[in-house]
């Protein structure tokens, strides 16, 4: 077992997230959209709807969610489909589907570049796109991954290289909402490779911790965006200039800050 102070290839400690960037309202034609980047992993997500869906797909009591993923090279169609199913499950758990019976949300995500942890980036980008589209949600959905390296060290937010070299990778997403008591709860999860029960449970706790700090980042970004929207309503020249300036400089946060 490596000492806890050992640094990873890119100079992070095992519990350090990469720098994240978030651009809301990225695609003008969509009802809601966002670009989310974790260093080299960039995902563009859009949400359309609620809108009419094919009659054989509609459900009487609640809306459905359709999700389409386009990945950068390196994913087979089967992997894409499996990833689509997991992300769709996460969105279904987040949006208040009883609000739009017989209709459907159409969500898409495009992995522009993949440097590890792409599935989590998809979920996080979609969460922001859902907020942008003004869809009612139970809370903020947030995902992350944890790789278990061959020496047993657990590293959060793995890069592509770490994912490939790892003995096992745990991916999970959690919903951030008001809870009666503090507990570790996940909405979805999948694993690859072999791991023991303890390692699995520790990884889940690790990931839930990390999602809490990502949610903070998202909230900060939302607050800033809403504030700017009000500036624009005022219509003053200065406020407009402030808005354009801020759109060019994407929201930044989590600059190599340890989680928790």
């Amino acid at each position: 077992m490596a000492p806890a102070t050992a640094l990873r290839g890119d100079g992070r400690s095992s519990e350090m997230l990469r720098r994240q960037r978030l651009h809301r309202h990225y695609v003008a034609g969509a009802h809601g959209s966002a670009e989310y980047a974790i260093d080299g992993t960039i995902v563009v997500a859009t949400v359309h709807g609620p809108q009419k869906v094919k009659p054989w797909r509609e459900e009487v009591e609640r809306g459905i969610v359709e999700f389409e993923l386009t990945s950068a090279s390196g994913m087979t169609r089967e992997e894409e489909r499996a990833c689509e199913a997991r992300v769709r499950g996460a969105i279904e758990a987040t949006v208040v589907r009883y609000d739009f019976p017989r209709l459907g949300l159409r969500a898409t995500a495009r992995i522009v570049s993949d440097d590890g942890n792409a599935e989590a980036a998809c979920v996080n980008a979609l969460c922001c796109a859902l907020i942008d589209a003004d869809v009612a949600m139970h809370g903020l959905i947030c995902a992350n991954a944890c790789a278990i390296l061959s020496d047993g060290t657990k590293v959060i937010d793995p890069t592509k290289r770490e994912e490939n070299e790892a003995r096992a990778v745990v991916r999970a997403c959690a919903l951030s909402k008001y809870r009666e008591k503090e507990e570790i709860a996940i909405v979805g999860c999948s694993t690859t490779g072999a791991l023991t029960e303890e390692e699995y449970l520790e990884s889940i706790a690790f990931i839930v911790d990390a999602t809490a700090s990502v949610v903070n980042f998202q909230k900060k970004s939302i607050a800033r965006f809403e504030l700017e929207g009000k500036f624009q309503e005022d219509g003053t020249k200065e406020a407009k200039r402030a808005k354009t300036a801020s759109e060019d400089t994407p929201m930044e946060g989590m600059e190599n800050k340890p989680i928790g």
Binding site: E59, E84, R86, I91, A93, A185, V187, C189, T191, T192
Partner: protein
């Protein structure tokens, strides 16, 4: 009102009432899985085949193999592909174009369970015919014939039995061409086709647990799956390692405690489930 009609009209209430008495619709206690059975050699055209039943859930797996060119980055390895599909009669939403959430989740869980468990060893070197030029592309097609809940578990059982049953035909490489020895159907003295058996090194077993309100229903039936909308599938191998924990979303969140219970249930049922497959494939050896 007749109980069947009541259960049909008010499925949630009916389920609540049954669970309150500590049993489930089919008389099982909450923590017991359905009986598993397995038979091999059900499809004579395939290199290996198996039919697995978990209660009423039925899955049929067949192994086919073709010669392919290995990946340039891994010249000594072959390919292993798992494809899980639902037959049209398997369940009410099995038709193409319908919402396919549950079926896709089952297919993905089965494929990743077999991949994570490295059933044919860490690398697929045993599928190599000649380095860099010829390798076996082994494909396991699973058809879920009847989906009464836990399709992924049943599919994994069928895949494992079919792989253990599989005999690859003998091939010879002469002057850069690969050919079957004879017509590939020659029999050994004991009635088994000539060839090399696959060396199946691990024995993954998958167990699904449904979360319904505060109850955990091990190995749910179709009705229970439809009500709970939230399942956790746990894959284990004989060394006690987790080879996959899959939860494809759903409206109920799984707490750490729930996950531990699901894993414990899988550990409890591992030995009996693995024995079913081992016994089914040992008969003819």
């Amino acid at each position: 009102m007749e109980s069947a009609a009541y259960a049909r009209l008010y499925p949630r209430e009916a389920c609540e009432k049954t669970l309150a008495s500590g049993a489930r619709g089919d008389g099982r206690p909450l923590g017991r899985a359905r009986a598993r059975t397995c038979a091999t050699g059900v499809a004579s055209g395939a290199l290996g085949s198996a039919l697995a039943k978990h209660g009423a859930t039925t899955a049929c797996a067949g192994v086919t193999a073709t010669i392919a060119t290995p990946d340039a980055t891994r010249p000594e390895e072959g390919f292993l592909e798992i494809a899980v599909d639902h037959a049209p009669q398997a369940s009410e939403d099995a038709r193409d174009g319908r919402t396919r959430g549950r079926r896709e989740a089952a297919a993905a869980a089965c494929a990743s369970a077999v991949a994570n468990a490295a059933v044919l060893g860490k690398d697929l070197k045993q599928l190599c015919v000649e380095r860099g030029t010829f390798a076996w592309r082994v494909r396991v097609d699973v058809i879920v014939l009847c989906d009464d809940g836990g399709a992924a578990d049943c599919a994994v059982t069928a895949v494992m039995a079919a792989l253990r049953d599989c005999v690859l035909p003998e091939v010879a490489v002469t002057r850069g061409k690969v050919a079957l020895e004879g017509d590939g159907t020659a029999m050994n003295g004991d009635g088994v086709r000539k060839g090399t058996r696959l060396d199946v090194q691990t024995m993954p077993v998958c167990l699904t647990t449904a979360l319904y309100r505060e109850h955990l229903l091990v190995d749910p039936t179709r009705e229970e799956e439809a009500l709970s909308e939230c399942e956790v599938s746990v894959v284990l191998t004989e060394d006690g390692l987790l080879r996959g924990v899959f939860k494809p979303g759903g409206e109920v969140e799984a707490t750490e405690d729930t996950l531990m219970k699901c894993i414990a249930a899988a550990k409890l049922h591992y030995a009996a489930s693995a024995k079913v497959v081992l016994e089914a494939t040992e008969d003819e050896e």
